[in-house]
């Protein structure tokens, strides 16, 4: 089913479906929406071959709900959506964060707001991914920039979701999702699959949210003989609703700390000539590819620029941006929105650094030439 070690021409969304199968996905609940639908279509074909479940639900709210039900019953579970579907899933995403349910949510970003430009490219959902659901919550979001990365990052998203017991977002975009590239798949033995921590305690002692040094509690599944309660109400260690201040504070702190105390395992950035350059392009997703092309074009004009790419968008790589970008003259931030991560870059750099936006919201990709032009204006 997975072309381990082989070289193929593969589409981004197809690579996500293959990455999910490589991870051992056994439940997909989804609703058709372009430009993410290929993920569902491929899994509809493949999951029955491995006794996995594919179900097309009645809407996106039902999709994310069914995914959480399946995960609580022990299945590696995921959904994929775009645009309006991602908005509809926000309440479920918050439920998953609070109830600490592992699953992967793929959002192949398309231009909005609302129905917007179906189905042209955008990076408009970056802040929605972080803050879209109500309440204060942690979130993990990864952003692929190529087809092989779609495969690898889906596996990583599953591993992180299981290891951290939390939803993980894969923020792809329409260009990456529909792009075809030559991909050499890894060998099976080179891929690491991680499972959620399983309780070792006797059943009568089990606590679904037992505190641990890592802040991640071992997790039993429904039907395993461990009987437990899960709720969207703020809960105590056993999962029962509570308003006791000590229990509420402990829960909220644990949700935060399980992410922010393990940033080294979560944060991934890629840099190209950043240290040697006075001007750096900060780019992610499909725009990162244009940034790399712009870097080459500028080099031919004897202009040296670096490229900084956050691979993990959330939690944001604060330390890396501060360390590597705070001393620069200019940071060019091309984004397919009207300014989202640019504000994070501004937050982490001093006023002497000039931050130059290159933004596009007409549904078309930012070209290397646009970035080159912006760079030439300041160099």
């Amino acid at each position: 089913m997975i072309p381990w070690g082989e070289t193929r021409l593969v589409q981004g969304n197809e690579a996500i479906a293959l990455g999910a199968l490589a991870s051992g996905v056994r439940f997909f609940g989804g609703y058709p929406i372009t430009p993410s639908t290929e993920v569902a279509e491929i899994l509809a074909r493949k999951l029955p071959e491995v006794d996995g479940v594919f179900i097309q639900m009645e809407d996106e709210i039902a999709s994310i709900s069914s995914v959480m039900g399946a995960s609580l019953a022990g299945a590696r579970a995921m959904t994929a959506t775009s645009g309006p579907g991602f908005s509809l899933m926000q309440e479920g995403l918050g439920y998953g964060c609070l109830a600490e349910i592992p699953f992967v949510l793929v959002n192949v970003m398309r231009a909005g707001p609302s129905t917007g430009l179906p189905t042209q490219v955008s990076q408009g959902d970056v802040m929605q991914a972080r803050w879209g659901t109500h309440g204060d919550h942690p979130v993990i979001a990864l952003c692929p920039a190529g087809v092989r990365e779609c495969f690898d990052m889906t596996i990583r998203a599953f591993n992180l979701s299981e290891e951290f017991r939390t939803p993980v977002l894969l923020l792809s975009d329409e260009v990456i999702g529909h792009m075809r590239e030559r991909v050499t798949f890894p060998r099976r033995e080179d891929v690491r699959i991680l499972d959620r921590p399983i309780p070792q305690t006797p059943k009568e002692w089990y606590e679904h949210y037992h505190p641990t040094p890592s802040n991640v509690s071992p997790m039993a599944s429904y039907g395993s003989g461990y009987r437990f309660h899960v709720t969207g109400l703020t809960h105590d260690r056993q999962g029962f609703p509570t308003r006791r201040i000590d229990e509420v504070v402990e829960k909220m702190a644990r949700l935060k700390n399980k992410i922010v105390r393990r940033l080294d395992e979560l944060i991934e950035v890629k840099t190209h000539n950043v240290e040697k350059s006075r001007v750096v392009i900060f780019a992610y997703g499909s725009v990162y590819r244009s940034a790399l092309a712009a870097q080459v074009m500028l080099e031919k004009k004897h202009k040296k620029v670096g490229v900084f790419r956050p691979v993990t968008l959330w939690p944001f790589p604060d330390r890396e941006v501060k360390e590597l970008l705070d001393e620069k003259d200019v940071i060019i931030v091309p984004e397919l929105n009207q300014g989202q991560l640019i504000h994070e870059v501004e937050r982490l750099t001093s006023d002497c650094v000039r931050i130059l936006p290159v933004q596009r919201v007409d549904g078309y990709a930012i070209t290397p030439e646009q970035i080159v032009q912006a760079a030439l204006e300041v160099m």
């Binding site: 009645e58 709900s65 039900g69 609580l72 019953a73």
Partner: protein, 281 residues
């Protein structure tokens, strides 16, 4: 009420979670008792029972019961339950919801769960209003009834829950009232035993909100109303439409044999895998 005592420590999270949130005179606890007795009469292991709910007064029920329990988002009980059931078809999945939870915000999910005929039992406690938020109108609020959001009288027609879900494809549809407890025990048991999507609509008084707003008297008076205004399906079959006007019909209202979804899905997997095995040498 005495009948619940032998089960108290077996099925209730008695020492942990009580007292419960329900108002004096509320019928939801009676429905909970019926569910306990129905499960007990079937001899099911608690480890195999999965109780899922949404949000609202009725949806607080899972926290009190020592099964596998899942208190989800408003309206989404059946969507979560569908995921649980498909991931572990051995679990006996019961969804408990109120009328607003099941039929307004969750209306889309319930008609599609019925259409799929997935093996889940839905218990809908219908108290004709949103109790938890203070008595607003719901899809089952009768025409002309007063609620806090229909202060001049309800002008929207109400759903016939049982007719709706029968038409949507449910295998088993019944109506009970919390006055007729022994009858409700039996109907819930029948629903649990039935393969496919089964529904029991349990009518229940909300004396705090709906009763007070409509001057229906105290809880006892409202219970007497359920007694006096309802007839069994058997008796209703012999009555004229004029005689039936305003009456609640209790009992099994529809039952059919139809393929169950998780079994169909397992069949599909076998078919796909068989076809592949034939292709491969």
């Amino acid at each position: 009420m005495a009948a619940i005592l032998p089960y108290e420590y077996k099925y209730l999270r008695a020492k942990k979670k009580f007292p419960h949130v329900w108002c004096p005179g509320c019928g939801i606890g009676i429905v909970m008792g019926s569910i306990i007795r129905a499960v007990d009469s079937l001899g099911w292991n608690k480890n195999d029972v999965m109780l899922v709910s949404g949000i609202g007064c009725t949806s607080r029920m899972p926290v009190y019961l020592d099964f596998n329990t899942l208190h989800t988002m408003h309206g989404r009980a059946l969507a979560f339950a569908t995921g649980v059931k498909l991931a572990n078809p051995e679990l006996r999945v019961i969804a408990v919801m109120g009328d607003g939870d099941a039929l307004a915000i969750g209306g889309n999910h319930i008609i599609h769960a019925a259409r799929r005929n997935i093996d889940i039992t839905s218990i809908i406690v219908n108290n004709f209003n949103y109790g938890m938020t203070g008595g607003q109108h719901s899809p089952t609020t009768p025409v002309n009834a007063i609620t806090s959001t229909s202060p001049h009288g309800m002008i929207e027609p109400d759903f016939d829950t049982c007719a709706l879900l029968s038409a949507a494809g449910a295998s088993f549809v019944a109506r009970a009232t919390v006055y007729h407890v022994v009858e409700m025990d039996g109907l819930i048991r029948q629903a649990l035993e039935k393969k496919g999507f089964s529904v029991v609509e349990a009518l229940s008084p909300c004396p705090t909100n709906f009763g007070r707003a409509n001057r229906l008297g105290d809880a006892v008076k409202m219970m007497e109303g359920l007694r006096d205004n309802s007839v069994t399906a058997v008796k209703a079959a012999g009555m004229t439409p004029e005689e039936l006007a305003g009456k609640i019909v209790r009992g099994v209202l529809s039952e059919r044999e139809a393929p169950e979804y998780t079994e169909l899905y397992r069949g599909l997997c076998a078919r796909v895998q068989g076809a592949r095995a034939e292709v491969a040498p």
